[in-house]
């Protein structure tokens, strides 16, 4: 018979694995808008973690900061500057 505690810890493990995958793809993604969206997935999983670790006050502060304000600021920055990240050294070296 499965219990409520086991399901809660299963949910924690699922959010941990999803946040790991989202972080990995967000760091290695060269399109910066996709990186911001992937970091929004990671923020949502951390909101679930704050809820399940019984810290509703932290979740109440963390949601507006990390889901609301922070992607808006980074999207503003991307709109003003460049949209992709050059990962190869040849592009930089050939400009000399």
């Amino acid at each position: 018979m499965i219990e409520l505690s086991t399901l809660t810890y299963l949910f924690m493990a699922m959010t941990g694995v999803v946040s790991l995958v989202a972080t990995y793809l967000a760091i290695l993604e060269s399109n910066l808008i996709k990186a911001v969206v992937l970091s929004a997935i990671q923020s949502t999983t951390y909101v679930i973690l704050f809820y399940l670790l019984m810290a509703p006050d932290i979740a109440l502060v963390y949601i507006p900061v990390s889901v609301g304000l922070y992607p808006a600021a980074v999207l503003f920055l991307i709109k003003k500057t460049e949209r992709t990240e050059n990962d190869s050294n040849e592009v930089v070296a050939s400009e000399d």
Partner: protein, 93 residues
């Protein structure tokens, strides 16, 4: 009062929701375009608000309900940001 019966029925709802969240996460992570990922995050967060409400009943902690309202409000803001960004790119900044 047989509230135990109803509580056990509600308890068996949790694995269905966990499966649904796993499928939403797969679409959000591998979505081929940007609107796919944002749509998956959007649907997942609204369902997460419902799931948070059900869990706060099962945990007997009514104070945890406040997270659901804030989550439903701010994920909508993420939608609007990305939509405005995509549309301004088409209009030539």
């Amino acid at each position: 009062m047989n509230s135990e019966l109803y509580l056990s029925v509600v308890f068996w709802v949790i694995p269905i929701y966990l499966t649904a969240f796993a499928l939403y996460s797969v679409r959000a992570v591998k979505g081929p375009t940007i609107p796919d990922s944002v749509l998956a995050i959007d649907s997942m967060s609204y369902d997460l608000a419902a799931f948070i409400t059900i869990l706060s009943i099962l945990f007997h902690s009514p104070i945890l309900i406040a997270v659901a309202m804030v989550l439903a409000l701010w994920v909508f803001a993420l939608d609007i940001y990305v939509a405005k960004y995509l549309e301004s790119r088409e209009m030539g900044e």
